[in-house]
């Protein structure tokens, strides 16, 4: 059936396909190799994608046009702070409507019940600000509950969170937790999910944040949200605000720049981006070697036949065509199961890690392109062998 389709397409017998199909063991080995390489690449990309998307969950959820950040900013996880005065300086720009300081820290928590541990990102925000702090409506609605400095709201998608806690908050309206030896009442929930670095997030008021982190002061926020008048050019205002901040310890940027900066840092500065990138390259090489091995052996085994074809007038290009036909068949036959298995593995890995490992829209196309390049490159190297097909050797 496939043979007939290929005959229509190629206007000749699909020798490459027939050859592959004839030696089933070899075909299975080759397709298995391509599938394996595909799964590896998909998994690496899946983890890498999850890293990128979770690393900016917090950033994306902030309701803001511009942010003020310490000028040495690389990543929110390692962010230092800047003097609050800079916020007032920025507010002097006519396009600025409001500015709110945000404080960020990490807290390590041990569940006294089960002994589980979790690393939380803590966001200290002004609970009574008239300006929206978060895009997430649920969080925004919970903020007024934080006015007392012993209240907090909890990310219930926190990795491996004891479900009893979620249940208690949702049913009884409160759950008491000890953080840094201080009693907190968790009175609300939201859903966000952890990143590679943190298992989840907690949101508290600025006052609560200061109680929790003794060495932090209200005068040195981690970042500030700046809302602009409608119709302002965010990039232009950011430049102008930076001109208003000659001290050089603080920098204004758009929300998108903030997100990009974080992702660039994750991709380029952390070993994680490198590790997964390297994983993709290694999987590519493994696939390349397997396909090359199979194609070369196949060419080697058919040298006498190729020499015969050459003797009856086939050109060198014809044989290259055979090898590429094989490469293409392997790419397609290996990719399809690779994609299917990867979709299942994504669901599995996502459940196991709590990370949003998802098949992103363009990824199959990207991986298929890689597979094609992999197979065609292998084919290209394997065609070198064809020069050994000499019709004079036939007699």
């Amino acid at each position: 059936m496939i043979t007939n389709i290929l005959i229509r397409l190629l206007h000749r017998l699909p020798i490459g396909w027939l050859q592959l199909n004839h030696n089933r063991t070899r075909l299975i080995a080759a397709v298995g190799g391509v599938t394996f390489a595909n799964i590896l690449i998909f998994m690496q990309l899946g983890f890498m994608g999850a890293l990128f998307s979770t690393s900016v969950f917090t950033h994306k959820n902030l309701s803001t046009d511009l942010v003020l950040l310490p000028s040495n900013f690389l990543s929110l996880r390692e962010a230092t702070s800047f003097p609050r005065r800079r916020i007032y300086q920025a507010e002097s720009h006519p396009a600025v409507v409001s500015a709110d300081p945000i404080y960020i820290g990490q807290v390590f928590w041990t569940d006294p019940v089960g002994g589980d541990t979790a690393q939380f990102r803590v966001l200290g925000v002004p609970p009574d600000s008239p300006d929206p702090i978060f895009l997430n409506k649920t969080i925004q609605a919970e903020l007024p509950k934080l006015k007392q400095p012993d209240k907090a709201i909890l990310d219930i998608k926190t990795r491996q969170l004891n479900p009893d806690i979620t249940k208690a908050i949702l049913e009884k309206g409160s759950y008491d937790l000890e953080l840094n030896n201080l009693q907190f009442h968790f009175v609300g929930t939201f859903t966000q999910g952890g990143s590679f670095g943190d298992d989840g997030s907690i949101i508290v008021s600025t006052d609560a944040f200061m109680r929790l982190f003794r060495n932090r002061q209200p005068g040195t926020p981690t970042l500030a949200l700046i809302h602009l008048a409608p119709g302002s050019d965010a990039h232009k205002v950011a430049r102008e605000i930076n001109a208003l901040l000659p001290e050089g310890d603080t920098i204004a940027m758009t929300k998108q720049q903030f997100i990009d900066a974080e992702q660039n840092y994750q991709a380029q500065q952390t070993p994680i981006g490198f590790v997964f990138g390297f994983g993709v390259v290694m999987a590519f090489v493994v696939g390349l070697v397997i396909v090359y091995q199979v194609l070369t052996t196949d060419v080697q085994d058919h040298l006498a036949e190729y020499a015969t074809f050459k003797a009856i007038g086939y050109s060198q290009g014809f044989f290259r065509g055979i090898v590429f036909e094989e490469a293409l068949s392997l790419a397609i036959l290996g990719f399809v199961p690779g994609l299917v298995v990867s979709i299942f593995l994504y669901a599995f890995a996502s459940r196991a890690t709590g990370l949003p490992i998802e098949m992103q829209f363009g990824r199959p196309a990207f991986v298929f392109s890689l597979t094609l390049i992999m197979c065609v490159l292998s084919g290209l190297i394997a065609t070198n062998r064809l020069a050994h097909a000499d019709p004079a050797d036939l007699f």
């Binding site: 206007h11 017998l13 004839h22 006498a304 003797a311 009856i312 007038g313 019709p391 007699f395």
Partner: protein, 227 residues
Amino acid sequence: MTTSPAIQTRNLSHHFGSGETRLQVLHHLDLEIPKGQFVILMGPSGSGKTTLLTLVGCLRSVQEGSVKLLGEELSGANERTLMLMRRRLGFIFQAHNLHDSLTAMQNVRMGLDVHGKGHGPEAEAACQHVLELVGLGERVDHYPSQLSGGQKQRVAVARALIGNPDILFADEPTAALDKEMGQQVIELIRELANQRQTTVFMVTHDHRILDYADRIINMEDGRIVES
């Protein structure tokens, strides 16, 4: 062009190896074979028969002297000219050299595909017809591994003839077959070639078929001794 001989060599010499081990295997051969003849080349082992056949069959490049095939000079010809010339020839090798991944039918089709007319119902019918001529009408969908030695060689004959070659080259096509089967294959070649007025240039040791030949060429030590 119509009057040019099928094969013509002038002062054709050939060497193998270089330096100390350089060995001259053909010595200044002058040969002319008109179109339509059935020519048998004989001679002791090592006398240079295969070498001559591969030279005039476009399978080996000409070193010294001249070879004209169907009026065209092969000496110094580029790979493309040789390739196009090969399409006008048919080859039957000592080993059948069928492709083991292709059925008998598909192997024969390879002989048509090279002319770009290997598909469509006419091609199918032509292949079927030739396979019937060689007595394999019932076995068109068999793979080489499912055929006997003689049947394989007959598929090879069908493949060589399907493109209606101007010249058919065969190098001991019956060497791998038993007497009876060999006889059948040779007769088949002769009959088909006769119908189509194909020039045949065949190396063989089989004395029983000498009667069929229009001409017998004897070689010894790289020289033609009698013709």
